[in-house]
């Protein structure tokens, strides 16, 4: 068991973390590069910066903007608060970083972390239920749209049990192992799934706007490539 724990906490964790960070950086670099290229080639470089920034900000901090399906929006919001804060600011996690690489930063009080963790767990199940209960999202939902929230809940459920052994009906070590393995796998999945939105989202409004800023000769070049320059309409 100890060897497993060691593996999950050490090499597996670092591999997954590096994979995630590099994967996200790759997405970011490619997107920035292509965005710059699109801007460079655009015939009309007059980008409505204000509108793009407003739209971007509106969705990065979406509380003022719940829309018709406000229960769903509130659920995602609550879910995100926990999912972002707890892994980064849990006292126990920071302690591990301090021991491991000597870095440390302020932590959330454990009581707050516990509440946020409970929120994430409830919200993850609520996301799945809300998706299944609304006609449009049910029609659209793919396997991953249901599986991801549930899978994200696994490290939170197991983490909660690790923190509060009195609530834990299972043995401590297997619970910890589940926690670490699921967290490692989750990190691994981030760049490969729609979870990559955590790095790409701030760029999406800009990217959508730029797509309308055509290169001046894109049309004629496509015509040439397809051998249609001289063709009658």
């Amino acid at each position: 068991m100890n060897a497993w724990l060691h593996l999950a906490r050490g090499p597996l964790f670092w591999t997954a973390l590096v994979f995630m960070v590099l994967g996200l950086l790759r997405h970011l670099a490619l997107t920035l590069w292509e965005t710059a290229r699109a801007y460079h080639r655009a015939g009309d470089k007059d980008i409505p910066v204000r509108r793009v920034l407003q739209d971007t900000g509106r969705w990065l901090f979406p509380l003022r903007h719940l829309g018709e399906r406000w229960p769903y929006s509130l659920t995602t919001f609550a879910f995100h608060v926990g999912v972002i804060l707890v892994p980064l600011f849990l006292a126990g996690h920071i302690e591990l970083w301090r021991k491991g690489v000597g870095l440390s930063w302020p932590a959330l009080p454990n009581a707050v972390s516990t509440v946020l963790t409970l929120v994430v767990i409830v919200a993850a199940f609520a996301l799945v239920l809300e998706r299944a209960s609304a006609r449009a999202s049910r029609a659209l939902g793919r396997f991953q749209d249901y599986a991801l929230p549930l899978f994200i809940a696994v490290p939170f459920v197991s983490g909660l049990l690790v923190m509060h052994p009195v609530w834990n009906p299972f043995a401590a070590d297997p619970t910890l192992l589940v926690h670490m393995l699921s967290a490692d796998l989750l990190l691994f999945l981030v760049p490969l799934t729609k979870l990559s939105h955590m790095i790409l989202l701030p760029l999406t409004q800009l990217v959508s706007e730029l797509a309308w800023h055509f290169p001046p000769d894109a049309g004629s070049r496509v015509g040439v490539t397809l051998g249609k320059e001289g063709e009658r309409i």
Binding site: H27, L30, T31, E34, T35, R37, A38, R41, G43, D44, D46, P48, R51, D55, T56, W59, P62, G67, E68, R69, Y72, R131, A134, R135, A136, S137, R138, A139, L140, G141, R142, D145, K194, S196, H197, L200, L201, L203, T204, Q205, V207, S208, L210, A211, W212, H213, F214, P215, P216, D217, A218, G219, S220, V222, G223, T225, L226, K228, R232, I233
Partner: protein, 494 residues
């Protein structure tokens, strides 16, 4: 020539005979991705799409059909699936290992149907947390489909005439007929308002070269008289170019390749006349296409002004004298998506209307959140889908209009006007009149003459042009386009 069987809209026979479409589609898609700038957006959408369903209820079509195929994200996924499978490394790898999705003829047909069930009005974009622009995906998908021949015939014949025909305009109006038409409008202005207002042709060095939707010359007499009156009263130097007098650009609806050529043709006419600015008439998509002049026209492209912006500025400057009496009927305003969605032209028309109407009411929602008239994205020109446009696609707009209780619906757009008229006819709103903004402005302008266009004359004018208001004008146009040579010598035949 047209074979109506395959899609909801007619395409030319050649399109149905094309072989090897999946390969050609992918070649075209590859070329477009390489030369255009769509790839960044597609990549982001393909990766992130949350499939949350928020966009569904913002689309007027889904609101009335509730069909899964009509969810914006579902429609966009059709093209994104092709993109993922053939143009991303992971997609190619996955296909190699596990097989799965392959582009087929039937799939192309599914896209052909789906992307013409979206008017590319872009209303849904504002509700997507991930900023997915389904109007953009529709725009791109239609271009790619066009390269395998899938183009509604109504759009194709218009563009063919505009770029390769003798008349260089989408309604195939020959120059003599156009001049007759303008002369008639001048006479009309004289008879009703006792003013002499010319339609100047080929004035070199004019400040404004005027490009309305060319169909206005046949169908929107009042709008064009209003346009001329405003230019005349404000002492503007303006002109109509005899080589190109059509602001319509259906390239925007199905092919950037055509759009580029049409914009370049328009800029060419301005340069020929040594004009300084482009003045676009009351037409949403013509205005949005003209906003692409800086894209295609290079560094010394002429600035673009929409006639509403011009009229508003002149009204503000006190250069358009108004009578004391305002328009008494209840008036509401429909925002054309192409000028309103990004908030570029929403206030100017309202300010004008508030100044000239005594009972102006808003329909809700409006401005950047307006609902499409139901005929956007060029679908209004496709007569064979009228039942769709005025049914599921237009119902929401019909309800909005009904709720205002308005007698006059103003929309400064040739496409919206045609659609709204048909919508009112088909939805028990027969008493509602759809007009342009300059039509109303003309009614209240104080020309300082005796023939001030009293009530009786207004009524006479209304009766005279009611044929064009009520009747379905496009068959005439389509016939004219189909046989350009025989196209009526008289512009007023409709």
């Amino acid at each position: 020539m047209a074979t109506p069987t395959r899609y909801a809209y007619h395409v030319e026979a050649a399109a149905l005979e094309m072989s090897d479409r999946p390969r050609r589609f992918l070649e075209a898609f590859a070329a477009i991705l390489r030369h255009g700038s769509y790839n960044v957006a597609l990549d982001a959408y393909a990766r992130m799409s949350a499939k949350c369903g928020r966009c569904a209820s913002s689309c007027q079509l889904y609101q009335s059909t509730g069909a899964p195929e009509d969810i914006p994200c579902h429609r966009s996924e059709l093209l994104l699936r092709v993109y993922r499978r053939y143009f991303t490394q992971s997609g190619v790898l996955k296909a190699r290992l596990f097989g799965g999705f392959t582009l087929t003829d039937a799939y192309i047909d599914e896209m052909a149907e789906a992307y013409y069930r979206c008017t590319a009005c872009r209303r849904c974009k504002a509700t997507c947390p991930l900023g997915m622009d389904h109007g953009l995906v529709t725009h791109l998908a239609r271009w790619t489909l066009a390269e395998v021949g899938v183009i509604p015939r109504a759009l194709l014949v218009s563009v063919r005439e505009q770029l390769e025909g003798n008349t260089h305009n989408t309604s195939a109006i020959p120059l003599p007929a156009l001049k007759d038409s303008c002369e008639f409008l001048s006479e009309e202005l004289h008879d009703i308002y006792d003013v002499d207002i010319p339609y100047p042709f080929d004035v070199e060095g004019a400040e404004y070269v005027f490009f309305p939707a060319v169909s206005d010359f046949l169908m929107e007499a009042d709008t064009l008289m209003g346009n001329a009156a405003v230019m005349h009263l404000t002492g503007a130097s303006w002109t109509i170019g005899s080589h190109n007098y059509d602001g319509i650009n259906y390239g925007l609806f199905y092919s950037d390749r055509m759009m580029e050529r049409i914009v370049n043709q328009l800029v060419g006419e301005v340069h020929r006349l040594k004009g300084r600015k482009i003045l676009v008439g009351e037409c949403g998509h013509a205005t949005r296409s003209a906003w692409y002049v800086p894209t295609f026209g290079g560094p010394d492209a002429p600035p673009v002004v929409n006639c509403l912006e011009y009229a508003y500025a002149m009204l503000e400057a006190g250069k358009i004298p108004l009578k004391a009496e305002k328009i008494p009927e209840r008036v509401t305003y429909h925002d054309p998506c192409n000028i309103a969605r990004v908030g570029r032209i929403t206030e100017q028309p309202r300010e004008i209307l508030k100044a000239i109407c005594s009972d102006y009411v808003e329909m809700t929602p409006n401005r950047t959140k307006n609902y499409c008239c139901g005929g956007g994205g060029g679908t209004v020109s496709i007569d064979e889908i009228r039942a769709f446009r005025t049914g599921p696609m237009g119902q929401r707009k019909a309800t909005q209009i009904r709720d205002t209780g308005a007698e006059l619906v103003v929309s400064p757009c040739a496409n919206c006007k045609k659609q709204l008229r048909e919508l009112c006819q088909d939805n028990d709103l027969g008493d509602v009149q759809v007009v342009g903004l300059h039509d109303l402005l003309l009614r209240v302008i104080d020309f300082g003459t005796n023939g001030n266009g009293g009530a009786a004359e207004d009524a006479a004018l209304g009766a005279e042009s009611s044929g064009s208001r009520g009747a379905d004008p496009m068959p005439v146009t389509a016939a004219a386009v189909a046989t350009p040579d025989a196209a009526g010598e008289e512009g007023e035949e409709s």
